[in-house]
């Protein structure tokens, strides 16, 4: 994986010293909270309901064993023994003390980790397909470009005070696992008719209060031009994005106010100027240097015929169930991609304990997996596992409470921290996820339902991606009491769509029944191999609405 060069290492170390000094000045009274707040946010430190929360960047969702062990150490030493993986492939610690943060950041810097670009109105930590470098359908490892974008965007002087935060995601496959169309800028690695690899660039996607699907602003951007092109997009946004209204300041508002054609025209005008100047051309040798860090390990030449794997599937029902859902095709024969579900039935989505993190680091070392991935769906991924090792890997995961066989099923629910932790939340998300998970915990029932993505947010900011859920749940506050809106038909994949709200919000004790009702409608009306999402798209939301509100005393 990518290793910092001396400039990165020095920069991160200097940032830790700088923040230590800023914390000291805050504690001594030299800085007021108003002065300090933007500084702490630039270092990923939020003040939440119960304590400070430290959000640590996991660039493109890749973690080494030593980084995992460091996260376990942070959880033990500075927190309460666990961390929470987020929908932006980062990890958050919920109980950090302000006075401890400089030491925690210094510890993180020793393993090339930090909390830079995890908050504030800057280009945020870049996300990528969590199957990067392993997926069978991949054109190119998206982390190469993600790393180039990181190097370009970190502390970019022109883009440190944007109108609002800016999120970029990169996908290297036709199948979009990075939700690129829901990002401020989404980049899809594509191959043109001549067989050349380049980038399709989307802009203006986003969730939050005003969800939009991104528009293509660059149909095929050449490799060497990508930074000039991105800088062109940023310039248009930085110049014309609104700064007068927090809710209208994201690039999605600008793109949709200008219209996609005008946005493209303005981007192209800036792009031609930048390209002519030539200063942002990505040098081929630098591209190659970075690509080497992401070179695939030597997979050898095993075959896909692995008797140990087949025997374990035949003899061990639990392994069979897990391998049915949690494995994905690997580019190399004899290998698989394994998803480690952080969604135990009735558990807290995305949470992992210090013991689990340490044990996963050991597992990576022992089985030569090399690195772990964090997915935006709040799961972890073992990108390169020998199929013959899978029975043993599964046994270890199971012993750690990490063997839940539910990847992509109804209990694999995304949920933001919600009102249990978050200062912005209007309602709790996690308990709703837990109740739904318990309701559908039976494995046969989950398999019968098939692929179904439920996504829950505790407020309109949509950290739980509810707009992109096949079933989306949004928590709202009515006079201090929690209610939940239900929406159907969203997708964050290549067939991106925004879910449609069903109707009035449900009470805390009604929402799980409503979810079960709409799933039952699907089971009754599906045709052949239709997924839940396909049925919703085919029949529309009315039949689902009728069932969800069946017991209500009024007509809607």
């Amino acid at each position: 994986m990518y290793r910092y060069d001396e400039f990165d290492a020095r920069f991160v170390a200097e940032r830790v010293d700088q923040f230590r000094y800023q914390v000291a000045r805050r504690l001594s009274g030299e800085l007021t909270e108003d002065e300090f707040k933007p500084l702490r946010l630039m270092n990923g430190l939020y003040l939440q309901l119960h304590a400070y929360m430290l959000r640590i960047a996991v660039p493109y969702g890749t973690l080494s064993p030593r980084q995992l062990r460091m996260l376990a150490h942070i959880a033990r030493k500075y927190d309460k023994g666990y961390g929470h993986f987020t929908t932006r492939q980062n990890i958050q610690f919920n109980w950090i003390k302000l006075v401890d943060v400089p030491d925690a950041l210094a510890d993180l810097a020793s393993v090339e980790m930090h909390a830079i670009q995890t908050s504030g109105n800057c280009i945020r930590n870049v996300t990528a397909d969590h199957f990067a470098g392993a997926a069978r359908d991949e054109i190119e490892d998206p982390r190469i470009l993600a790393e180039i974008v990181r190097q370009w965007s970190s502390l970019h002087p022109e883009f440190s005070f944007l109108p609002r935060k800016f999120k970029i995601a990169v996908s290297g496959s036709e199948h979009d696992r990075a939700a690129v169309k829901f990002h401020d800028v989404g980049i899809e690695i594509v191959r043109n008719d001549e067989g050349r690899v380049g980038y399709r660039v989307y802009a203006g996607g986003g969730m939050g209060r005003t969800p939009y699907i991104g528009h293509v602003v660059g149909e095929f951007v050449e490799r060497s031009d990508i930074l000039a092109f991105l800088e062109a997009v940023m310039r248009v946004y930085n110049q014309s994005g609104r700064r007068d209204n927090l809710y209208k300041s994201r690039i999605k508002i600008l793109v949709n106010a200008l219209g996609a054609d005008e946005m493209r025209r303005q981007v192209m005008r800036e792009f031609e100027e930048l390209r002519a100047a030539g200063t942002l051309e990505v040098p081929g040798e630098e591209l190659a240097r970075i690509a080497r860090y992401f070179a695939a390990p030597d997979f050898g030449a095993p075959t896909d015929d692995v008797p140990e794997f087949d025997a374990a599937r035949a003899s061990n029902a639990a392994f069979r169930a897990w391998s049915d859902t949690n494995l994905a095709p690997h580019r190399a024969p004899g290998y698989a991609i394994a998803t480690i579900s952080l969604k135990p039935i009735g558990g807290v989505p995305g949470d992992a304990t210090d013991e689990q993190l340490d044990a996963l680091a050991d597992l990576l070392d022992e089985f030569g997996v090399g690195e772990l991935r964090v997915s935006h769906e709040q799961n972890l991924v073992l990108p390169h596992v020998r199929k013959k090792d899978l029975p043993a890997v599964f046994a270890r995961l199971e012993a750690l409470g990490l063997g839940t066989p539910n990847a992509g099923l109804v209990t694999d629910i995304i949920a933001c921290p919600g009102l249990d932790y978050c200062d912005l939340a209007n309602a709790r998300s996690i308990p709703i996820a837990q109740r739904i998970s318990e309701r559908f915990g039976d494995l046969d029932r989950q398999h019968d339902i098939g692929e179904l993505k439920i996504k829950i947010s505790g407020c309109i900011n949509a950290c739980g991606h509810h707009h992109a859920g096949h079933i989306g749940v949004l928590g709202v506050d009515k006079k201090g009491v929690e209610y939940y809106q239900l929406q159907l038909g969203g997708s964050g994949a290549e067939d991106a769509s925004i879910g449609e709200i069903l109707g009035p919000a449900f009470g805390e004790h009604e929402i799980v029944d409503a979810v079960e009702g709409v799933i039952n409608v699907y089971l009754e009306r599906r045709e052949r191999s239709e997924r839940f999402l396909d049925t919703v798209r085919r029949v529309g939301i009315e039949p689902f609405k009728a069932r969800a509100y069946a017991g209500w005393a009024f007509h809607i």
Binding site: L27, L49, H50, A51, K97, R428, G480
Partner: protein, 99 residues
């Protein structure tokens, strides 16, 4: 003017711990917090708390309302007073701080 009793709360600067106002000082437990029965008392407490902000004891003090039964109107304040509802082993509830 609010008819409901109010509580003055803030987070402690050093560690973010939730604290409540009582007789010119800060306590950890909602049960021990002063019930500010009228607007004058609430405004006076909030003004005094400003000094503790300046002294770097707390950040972002604000008032919230209690229902007649003594529970906070907003779920948010119940969760702040107790800890995460999904981790009863953590937060004030785990330390048996009275709510």
């Amino acid at each position: 003017m609010s008819k409901l009793a109010q509580i003055l709360t803030a987070n402690r600067l050093r560690d973010g711990e939730v604290v409540y106002w009582r007789d010119g000082a800060w306590v950890l437990s909602l049960a021990e917090a002063a019930r500010l029965g009228d607007k004058d008392a609430a405004d006076a407490a909030l003004k005094l708390a400003g000094a503790d902000v300046a002294d770097r004891v707390v950040v972002s003090p604000y008032l919230f309302e209690l229902r007649p039964d003594g529970r906070p109107v907003k779920e948010r304040e119940i969760i702040r007073a107790e800890g995460p509802s999904v981790r009863r082993d953590l937060g004030k509830q785990a330390r048996h701080v009275p709510v």
